[in-house]
């Protein structure tokens, strides 16, 4: 069954992820479900009828009629500051989706999975990690997560717990500005050594999901191609500041 058009959702919870981001929990009556990696459009309407819409990745599997959307604040943005500061629990907002059927991990695909996230690009990848666990799948997953500093890690406690409890989930961090104390690595942008050490060899024919800002996705997908991965097995989602 396919529903189109805008649906009315209600904000039921908002969880802070970092200083500049939060997860909105929305209740959408009769939500039809979604696949990990899909996104939704959220729309705001001013009192005079002016409207603004933006696309956001869904960061968790559906829990009945509840969906979770993780929002990064775009400084001076039009929509994200309102979603983070203006919208109150109980307020209504319009949602459309789920959208996108390509940047999607399917439970039935037995191939090992590499997830490469830059900054807030981790949100749809987290939906895949959570969906895998929820389904009891043992498909091996690796996440390489590029962040400016430790303070910028989304879902930090949950990722730590999941890695501890799950032998077939690995997470490696790349710090671009500030390396946590006690680690010997230098701050750097993601490169061949990171993908070589923490990704899968091309012969295993993994599926690679890459999500982040344009420059990040260009760099990572070029490296994966150079490392021998079939371009069709590299799925990308690029975003710029969209307000």
């Amino acid at each position: 069954m396919k529903r189109t058009g805008w649906w009315v959702a209600r904000l039921v919870d908002r969880r802070v992820e970092t200083d500049t981001s939060a997860t909105l929990v929305l209740e959408v009556p009769d939500w039809p479900g979604h696949l990990p990696g899909q996104h939704v459009d959220l729309r705001l309407t001013a009192e005079d009828g002016y409207q603004a819409a933006r696309s956001y990745s869904v960061s968790a599997p559906a829990d009945g009629d509840r969906i979770e959307v993780t929002v990064q604040r775009v400084p001076d943005g039009e929509v994200s500051p309102y979603l983070l500061d203006g919208l109150s629990v109980g307020d209504r907002i319009e949602v459309r989706g789920p959208v996108g059927g390509y940047f999607v991990w399917r439970l039935t695909d037995p191939a090992p999975v590499l997830l490469v996230g830059g900054g807030s690009g981790v949100a749809p990848l987290m939906a895949m990690i959570r969906a895998r666990r929820e389904a009891g799948s043992r498909t091996p997953f690796r996440l390489i997560y590029s962040v400016r500093s430790e303070r910028d890690i989304y879902f930090a406690d949950e990722l730590r717990r999941r890695v501890r409890d799950d032998q077939s989930l690995d997470v490696a961090y790349v710090y671009t500005r500030e390396v946590p104390e006690g680690l010997s690595a230098q701050a750097h942008r993601i490169g061949v050594p990171d993908l070589n050490s923490h990704g899968w060899p091309a012969q295993l024919e993994p599926v690679n999901f890459v999500c982040g800002p344009t420059g990040f996705v260009e760099a990572v997908s070029d490296i994966l191609v150079a490392l021998g991965h079939e371009p069709r097995r590299i799925k990308t989602e690029r975003f710029g500041p969209t307000g």
Binding site: K2, T4, G5, W6, V8, D41, R43, L44, T45, A46, E47, G49, Y50, Q51, A52, A53, R54, S55, E78, Y82, G86, L87, D91, R92, I93, E94, R96, V99, G100, G101, Y102, F103, T214, E218, S221, D222, L224, V225, P231, R232, I234, K235, T236, R238, F239, G240, P241, T242, G243
Partner: protein, 199 residues
């Protein structure tokens, strides 16, 4: 009118008659593609129009740019809600490329290096509505924006303007392309907000 969000003002950037419904203006040039950026060498590059009978017309890179070019200045509209006004391109009009092509086809399936496809009615490629472009803003088109050459069909959502374009297959029936198979609208008119199937 939708559900009013108390206190939401919006940014009220210039809207005016050039902005289709649900779009906002951007000054930068976001990139959206589903996979890695293909790198195509100009010596291997070719552009092929294939008719419904299998007849083929081919242009090498040098042959293509020996044709007369145009410099359209157009507004572009992405389905992810951004629009960019007054963009400058240089390329060959599809009218030039289709001139003399003997076809009864109603539909076109555009295909690209890297495997991307998108479909549109053949009429939407005619009458000064579409170009194969290799220059953006006076410089070679960067690979992440579809270089060495992309299709430009600015009156439809920008996913129809296939990056890394390689050819067009003409057909008597409509065959959905990459995003059209994944739930996006078959036609994609931004002024009618045809984003997704059923719009």
């Amino acid at each position: 009118m939708g559900i009013v969000s108390p206190g939401f003002q919006g940014r009220r950037r210039p809207t005016g008659p050039n902005l289709p419904p649900g779009q906002y203006l951007t000054e930068d040039f976001p990139v959206l593609s589903a996979g890695p950026t293909p790198r195509v060498s100009l010596t291997d590059w070719e552009f092929v129009i294939t008719t419904e009978t299998g007849a083929e017309l081919r242009w090498s890179w040098d042959e293509m740019w020996a044709l007369p070019t145009e410099t359209p200045t157009v507004d572009i509209h992405c389905v992810t809600h951004w629009s960019k006004l007054g963009t400058n391109w240089q390329g060959v009009s599809l009218d030039t490329l289709l001139d003399g092509v003997d076809t009864a086809a109603d539909y076109a399936l555009v295909h690209s290096y890297g495997g991307y496809t998108t479909n549109l009615p053949l009429d939407d490629l005619r009458d000064g509505q579409a170009w194969v472009v290799h220059q953006y803003d006076g410089a070679d088109l960067p690979a992440e924006h579809g270089g060495p050459a992309r299709l430009l069909v600015p009156h439809l959502y920008f996913w129809k303007s296939a990056k890394w374009v390689r050819g067009i297959r003409l057909g008597l029936t409509d065959e959905p392309g990459f995003w059209e198979t994944a739930g996006y609208h078959d036609y994609g008119d931004p002024w009618r907000e045809q984003r997704y199937q059923g719009d």
